[in-house]
């Protein structure tokens, strides 16, 4: 097993998937000759040629619309949206077309496509390059939303997304690209979608989160261990549809639940997770469900101290974990 960065693991998944299946192709802004602004698709065009690694115009609606058509005709497009917040012009294609093809055609048609998009902050990207926009998409049946938290998961889940027969939004945390490194299985490594994963075992509190926050929560849990508390950490991995069974099990285990997201608090994904726990785990709860999230302000600021104030980090999670542990 090779030790790869989160970014390398994603690239590895693309290589393996394109080698395995000729129907898989990549499209997006600067993904070909440049290899992508983050270099995720570097080397792909050299290996698979211009017909399978397409540089597109700056038109997200076009990128996704093209993908929907190709997917309905039997291809497996993997579209890249350069930054997650750029996806908004394509929302009609995603929500109205891609997500509803199967339903609208009574199962005659489907759209096996993946839309990759780097999300999240902490990289001095300010307004247009720091947002978490997953909450816009996590209430659309027909669409799957996936966020990996480790290099191995990034590879396995991306391969799983490419093999999935319906549209998948695949959010990659851009700060994680080169920050996270880990052992990644070689060759075909697929993780089925829709399954959450316990990343750390503990019996004092349960932390449920996703994306880069999983890594931060694990760091915080190691610090919390010194106080004598063990945190269970559940990585949601697939944000839509949620793995309710795993959420209920993890929440019931300790009865003390902390939900973490980098997104703005109100109406975020963890609000839904909280509702699931509230509905199913009342008699197993030992403390109020706690949420830790970004403030309800329009965007992550550029100024570093202000960005730190907004951005999630291990210290913030640790403090909240300790509060919950001592409740």
């Amino acid at each position: 097993m090779a030790k790869l960065s989160y970014l390398d693991a994603i690239r590895d998944a693309l290589f393996v998937a394109m080698e395995q299946d000729d129907n898989v192709f990549v499209l997006g802004e600067d993904v070909g000759k440049k290899g992508g602004v983050f270099k995720v698709t570097e080397g792909l065009q050299e290996k698979f040629g211009e017909m399978r690694v397409l540089d597109t115009p700056l038109a997200e609606s076009n990128i996704v619309g093209t993908s929907v058509g190709a997917a309905m005709m039997g291809k497996r497009p993997v579209a890249e949206i350069q930054f997650a917040e750029y996806i908004l012009p394509a929302v009609n294609q995603i929500l109205n077309e891609a997500a509803k093809v199967r339903y609208r055609s009574d199962n005659d048609w489907n759209a096996p496509m993946v839309m990759r998009a780097p999300y999240g902050g902490g990289i001095h990207g300010a307004l247009y390059h720091s947002q978490s926009i997953e909450s816009l998409f996590v209430s659309t049946p027909g669409l799957k939303v996936v966020v990996p938290s480790t290099p191995a998961d990034a590879k396995g889940l991306l391969m799983g997304a490419i093999k999935d027969n319906d549209p998948v939004l695949f959010f990659e945390h851009k700060k994680a690209y080169r920050l996270l490194k880990g052992e990644v299985p070689e060759g075909d490594y697929t993780i089925p979608l829709g399954k959450a994963d316990v990343k750390r075992e503990g019996d004092d509190i349960t932390v449920i989160t996703y994306g880069l926050c999983v890594n931060y929560a694990i760091q915080a849990a190691e610090q919390l261990k010194e106080e004598g508390y063990e945190a269970e950490i559940l990585d949601l991995r697939t944000l839509y549809p949620l793995d309710k069974e795993a959420i209920i099990k993890a929440a019931s285990k300790t009865g003390k639940v902390l939900l973490v997201t980098e997104d703005n608090l109100e109406g975020s994904l963890i609000s839904e997770v909280s509702a699931i726990i509230g509905e199913n785990c009342l008699y197993d709860l030992d403390a109020p469900i706690m949420r830790l999230a970004g403030p309800d302000v329009p965007s992550m600021p550029y100024a570093p101290p202000m960005e730190d104030y907004f951005m999630m980090n291990p210290e913030k999670i640790y403090k909240k974990m300790l509060e919950l542990s001592e409740y």
Binding site: D204, T254, G255, K256, L282, Y283, D284, L285, D286, A287, L322, E326, Y327
Partner: protein
Amino acid sequence: MTEITMPKLGESVTEGTIENWLVKVGDHVSEYDPVCEVNTAKVTAEVPSVHDGVITEILVQEGETVDVGAPIYKIEVDGDASADETADSNNDEAQTEAPVKNEQPAMPKQQGDRRLSPVVMRLIGEHNINIDELDGSGFNGRITKKDVEKYLADGPVKKAEPVQQTAVKPEPVQAPKAKSSNESGESIKVSGIRKEIAKRMVQSKTEIPHAWLMMEVDATNLVNLRNKHKAAFKEKEGYNLTFFSFFVKAVSEVLKDYPILNSSWDGDTITVHDDINLSIAVANEDKLFVPVIKNADERSLTGIAKSISTLANKARTNKLTGDDMAGGTFTVNNTGAFGSVQSMGIINQPQVAILQVESIVKKPVFIGDMLAARHMVNLCLSIDHRVLDGLVAGDFLKAVKEKIENLDPDAVSVY
């Protein structure tokens, strides 16, 4: 921050019950402002603040009993926010715990948060756990799921001196918890004084073999005498010349001849007291006090009437002190005041007898072969049969009867 401890409210008082908090956390108090009412062995006393400052924490809840010297509240003394004061309060030990950092998520040992989380509620129900046996390790002493799991795994935590607690337990006050068949109705929180009364009464009634006798006394002379002087006395002295004063006076005199009734029972010894200190029962709304007329035998009738008046007023305004209540050797109870004609008093431990003075009722009585309208009164005596027998009790009662009956209705003075 200064910790204030339970004051010692009288000799031999070892504990006190917080009856009432007169302040709450955050209140500013000045020195000598009353902070709480403390009840010790039947006295309720207001505890004044010894500092100017802000109350920061109340450590003992209303109704809780703590030892003298135990911390009862904390106060932030004005101009002393830095909290390094050690000298002031009267318990230096409690203060020597190193200055704790404020952020330290306190692990208060007092019974704190008694709210139960859903999972704790479910677990104690499923396993039939008495939550009083659980120690809360959570914030403010909250009982956590972990605490319950630990309890289930390890069994009950050994609390301090559980043996003593159970040994003292057989207070039958608790025992007859017969459930009322009627569930509806108001429930009244039992106050500290009520609890004290209940405890004493149960103790007296269960420990003392009470025997009881009653004599009917012709109080016609008394009524005439008193009526003759009543108005003038009131005008001159400012308080009433009551019938009860005459009975108290008579009892104090007769007790000199029957000292065994003026004694106490200690199990191994019977102590006959030199002083004749008469307890008189005074009721105040829902409370019963038994203040004492000290050396009643040395007082004139006026002196006794005055003592009764003073003590009764103090009782009604909650001003009785420990001294007012201490040292009684025999009790005279004015049951006639509320119209009773016959009653069986419960002896006020460790005394050995109690005399109930009933209502004076005018009725037809044979004197010789003639019927006459006379003012009659029943005197009811309860005695501790461990100490007293019927003969001496009868002699005592007869002597009181004679004193009352032989009052001279034509006496020119009651002084």
